[in-house]
Symmetry: C2
Subunit: 111 residues, 2 copies
């Protein structure tokens, strides 16, 4: 991409983009769905459910963790992940606050 110019934008824009980026792959959406469906943290069962290799799933989990969407703890020989609800709440808030200044205008001039 010839140098990503992310630093030229505001922090809010960067944060929202980073969150969206974490959701920008169906595998990661599917992982979050699985984690959300279980009442206790899951680890390698995710691999069984997804049509991806173990190493690829691990990469996606790392990406989600890096984005702060999930938490992970080591449980003996296995890794345990669960959803970070606070992060989702924060995203919801950011998402809404970014666009709520326009719900006012119902009139469309063009388009």
């Amino acid at each position: 991409m010839a140098i990503a110019k992310t630093e030229a934008f505001s922090k809010k824009e960067q944060d929202l983009a980073a969150f969206a980026k974490a959701l920008a792959h169906p595998a990661r959406v599917a992982i979050l769905k699985v984690l959300a469906g279980k009442d206790e943290c899951v680890c390698g069962q995710i691999v069984e459910v997804l049509p991806l290799a173990q190493s690829t799933v691990s990469q996606h989990l790392t990406a989600l963790k890096a984005a702060g969407l999930i938490n992970g703890t080591i449980d003996g020989p296995r890794s345990c992940y669960c959803i970070n609800w606070k992060a989702f709440e924060k995203f919801k808030h950011e998402f809404n606050s970014l666009f709520d200044n326009l719900q006012v205008k119902d009139q469309q001039r063009c388009c």
Copy 2:
């Protein structure tokens, strides 16, 4: 990426991921913000606001349009874009419906 396996996931997961992908760059978030702030559709003024070349902005606009987040019409020698509110409503719904089956469980077993 060695063949994207998006087709192996459900349509809902793909849709949500596609929407997120469109938001997954600060420039596109900034564009949406600009479009949201104006009560009439803007075109090339976006280029003036963003720290990017005209061709790059045009690419981002094309991406947003392809994702269905904005509408575009040709207005003489210039192009006019505006936000597709229905798409955002749909996304909000998909986003919430994907994760609302877990607001139930407040107890965290681990993590």
